[in-house]
């Protein structure tokens, strides 16, 4: 047994608990579980910061004529005599987007859960390259510090929008931001490196470290999603790094890649940015889909409906994700024929997305639904993602997009997929895997309250934005009251702002639950959700090295309510069929 294991995982199996200094165990740890938890705390912090920026923006939009309560504590360059300055508002817009995308959602989906789940779910002791893994966390920290520091340098933080369109982003005399923009770009390059190194690790681990019997089509959908996501990040991030470096050179050493007066091409920046940016969208949603699949299967006590279709849908979405970037640029000036081909490839993504949505519903159909908090968030994900996906179709078709481009319609859309989608799934994932990570359950009642508050406030905030977009309210606008065509939307904007405050406050309910449960939560057993995947077959939390003996996998990932198993409604991936149930010795139905 031991030799097989050693061959299969390519590393020595001896991983007894050995004494480690505090520094090695919790700070510069190479254990994938500790690194995941480091990522979790870091990204929750950034989520809070990003949300705070959004609250400031909402206050300004709702009450542009009022002074900001407590604004006096902010420096004069941000809030002058009580009013949020337009320049600072531009920074808020930019940094809210950047922080949420690059430092909250993306590392939370990938840094936290790829790290935590991949080795546990494929039956490995750790990542393929544990030290590289540590480096990729410790690269994110300086990147995050640079981003935070940029608020406090002369000229303030980057203010050209998170998409950083040139020449605005390339010329400090246009945006008024010097060092802040450069810090943003440097931080992005460092973060990109962290992300690439992480991806190398995840991909290699999935390819080479699977336990015996863990074939490709026995991998849990979460692993599939994270694997494909890692490929996307691996191929998309370096392009952004290259573009970011060129933009940085434009600002610092006098090149003119994106500056038209010297022959550069601003449109090239958009192409490079969105060549990264659209795969990035799927980096932000595919893992969420993976978590949702897992939680819905466990919460419905049924195998996932159409497992292979789910896998191929992930692959299809990822592939299509690389050939649709032009749909962000319909309004940038584009050959209509090219625009049409981008429209078609974009609309095609609706097919695999719909496959996934219907399969989730098919999984829940006549299932024995367990409406615990993770399940509620997973169902919420499906519903919100459907709305966000549908509004995406509007923008994919050029004629409609021309009308709603750069309005609040797009703000509504992006938040339905990123907040209603990714973040709902992430909340679900946090509640679901919390007992595995920390050995305690999060409070269920508080969790449910958190879910319902989030769902209601979320929709109150973002659904009306579709309407605001239709009447022509521009995204990133500082003060809507000055425009003739935007008269009469003040009430809606104030409602949205109140709901946004509620949404942010409900986040603190979650934070309270999270930290309170760390010490006071009910002790979790190894498998609190009676789930089938490998991570639940270890103690909560798993020990260093994960397994006493590398598990051998006999089953697909979501074997719930199997007709041959009579004593319980789930069958762990590593349960020997002949041991578990005599029913298995009979001829088994052969699919495929």
């Amino acid at each position: 047994m031991a030799t097989i294991v050693a061959e299969a995982t390519g590393q020595a199996i001896l991983h007894e608990e050995h004494g480690q200094s505090f520094l090695r165990k919790y700070i510069f740890s190479t254990d994938h579980k500790v690194i995941a938890i480091q990522f979790l705390f870091t990204t929750l912090f950034f989520l809070m910061i990003g949300g705070l920026l959004a609250m400031l923006m909402r206050y300004q939009i709702a009450w542009p004529d009022r002074t900001l309560p407590g604004g006096g504590i902010l420096p004069e360059t941000m809030v002058s005599s009580g009013y949020i300055l337009p320049e600072f508002y531009n920074s808020l817009v930019t940094m809210h987007g950047s922080i949420m995308v690059f430092f909250a959602i993306m590392p939370m989906l990938v840094g936290v859960y790829a790290n935590y789940l991949i080795p546990l779910q494929i039956g490995a002791r750790d990542m393929a390259f544990p030290r590289l893994n540590m480096i990729s966390f410790w690269l994110m920290v300086p990147a995050g510090l640079m981003t935070l520091a940029s608020f406090f340098v002369i000229g303030g933080a980057a203010a050209a929008g998170w998409t950083l369109y040139a020449p605005l982003s390339g010329r400090p005399d246009l945006s008024g931001v010097h060092l802040g923009q450069q810090l943003w770009l440097m931080s992005l390059v460092v973060l990109g490196l962290s992300s690439i190194l992480g991806s190398v690790n995840y991909i290699t681990t999935v390819i080479n470290m699977r336990a015996p019997g863990m074939t490709w089509f026995r991998m849990p959908l979460t692993v599939w999603a994270l694997f494909i996501t890692a490929i996307l990040a691996l191929l998309a991030m370096p392009v952004l790094s290259a573009a970011g470096i060129m933009l940085l050179f434009d600002q610092t050493i006098g090149t003119s890649f994106f500056l038209p007066e010297a022959g550069g091409q601003p449109l090239l920046w958009q192409h490079l940015f969105w060549f990264f940016g659209h795969p990035e969208v799927y980096i932000l949603i595919l893992p969420a889909m993976g978590f949702t699949s897992e939680i819905i299967a466990a919460g419905s006590r049924k195998p996932i409906f159409g497992y292979k279709a789910m896998v191929w849908a992930i692959v299809a979405i990822a592939f299509l994700g690389f050939i649709v970037w032009g749909h962000h640029m319909f309004q940038s000036g584009m050959n209509p024929t090219l625009g049409l081909s981008f429209t078609i490839s974009t609309l095609l993504i609706a097919v695999p997305s719909a496959i996934k949505t219907f399969n989730w519903m098919g999984t829940m159909w006549r299932g024995n639904l367990q409406l615990h908090t993770p399940m509620l968030f997973a169902i919420g994900f499906v519903a919100m993602f459907a709305i966000g996906g549908l509004s995406g179709i509007f923008m994919a078709s050029t004629p409609v997009d021309i009308y709603i481009h750069d309005t609040y319609f797009i703000v509504a859309h992006i938040h339905y997929v990123l907040f209603g989608g990714s973040l709902f799934a992430l909340f679900g994932a946090i509640y679901y895997w919390y007992p595995k990570m920390f050995g305690r359950m999060m409070n269920e009642t508080l969790g449910k309250v958190h879910f319902w508050l989030t769902l209601v406030f979320f929709n109150l905030v973002f659904f009306p934005m579709h309407g605001l977009g239709m009447v022509g309210m521009m995204r990133r606008i500082y003060d809507a009251t000055g425009y003739q065509h935007l008269q009469g939307i003040e009430d809606t904007n104030q409602l949205i702002t109140w709901a946004a405050f509620g949404l942010y406050a409900s986040g603190f309910l979650f934070a309270f639950n999270f930290f309170w449960s760390l010490w006071k939560g009910r002790k979790a057993e190894a498998n609190p959700w009676s789930a089938t995947t490998l991570e639940w077959q270890t103690p909560s939390p798993p020990k260093h090295g994960n397994w006493k003996e590398i598990p051998v996998v006999y089953h697909g990932p979501h074997e719930f309510s199997h007709p041959d198993v009579t004593d319980k409604d789930w069958l762990a991936q590593n349960e020997r069929p002949d041991v578990t149930s005599p029913a298995h010795t009979g001829p088994a139905p052969q699919p495929e």
Binding site: S199, P238, H562
Partner: protein, 206 residues
């Protein structure tokens, strides 16, 4: 639902690729590197086609013969890298040391020539009437220095790793059963070499 004993018997346990992990990791990393240079080279193509009248003719600014010699140096270093790996496989300690050292020196030589080239260009380069050819010299200068600079940076990282590998060779680390490090480093080195051949062609020759 594929489970039950039949499935277990039919399918041997899957154990990943028949390739050791470090090598898989390097290949995966190189995919990412390909995309990085694709970003730079793609931008170069777009910018050059957009403003071809601002491009210097081959040899007008850049010293092609010197760089051709430099290209030859880098190709030779790939050959010595292969030799080092072959020596490791044959357990030829002397060969390992000799060829790793040679590869390191050739890589360093490439960097030296590139540094010389840069200095000459910045101090004495002539283009469009301006004295001194810098990254600020139009798109031509910007793309030239960015692309060759990032390639040079990759060579530099390679040389650092090669120097480490050479020191290890003198300590007797590599041998018949310990040549993964050399192979993985070799993959990176050949990649950097390959990128240079593309860059040399599109930046210097056409």
């Amino acid at each position: 639902m594929a489970h039950a004993q039949a499935a277990i018997m039919d399918r041997p346990p899957e154990r990943g690729l028949d390739v050791y992990t470090q090598k898989v990791g390097m290949w995966v990393f190189l995919c990412s590197e390909v995309m990085f240079f694709a970003g730079l080279i793609g931008s170069y193509i777009v910018l050059r086609f957009g403003a071809s009248d601002t491009w210097a003719a081959p040899g007008e600014v850049l010293n092609v013969p010197v760089t051709a010699v430099n290209t030859f140096i880098l190709i030779c270093s790939s050959v010595t890298m292969v030799k080092a790996f072959a020596a490791a496989e044959a357990d030829d300690q002397k060969g390992i040391k000799r060829y790793l050292l040679l590869t390191t020196l050739l890589g360093a030589m490439f960097l030296g020539v590139q540094a010389f080239e840069y200095t000459e260009l910045v101090l004495h380069g002539e283009w469009q009437g301006s004295h001194g050819f810098t990254p600020a010299a139009g798109l031509y200068g910007a793309t030239f220095f960015t692309m060759t600079g990032f390639h040079g940076f990759h060579v530099f990282l390679g040389v650092v790793c090669l120097a480490w590998a050479t020191i290890q060779a003198y300590r007797g680390r590599w041998g018949k059963d310990h040549h993964h490090g050399i192979e993985v480093l070799g993959l990176y080195w050949h990649f950097v070499d390959l990128v240079w051949i593309i860059l040399f062609t599109i930046v210097y020759l056409i």
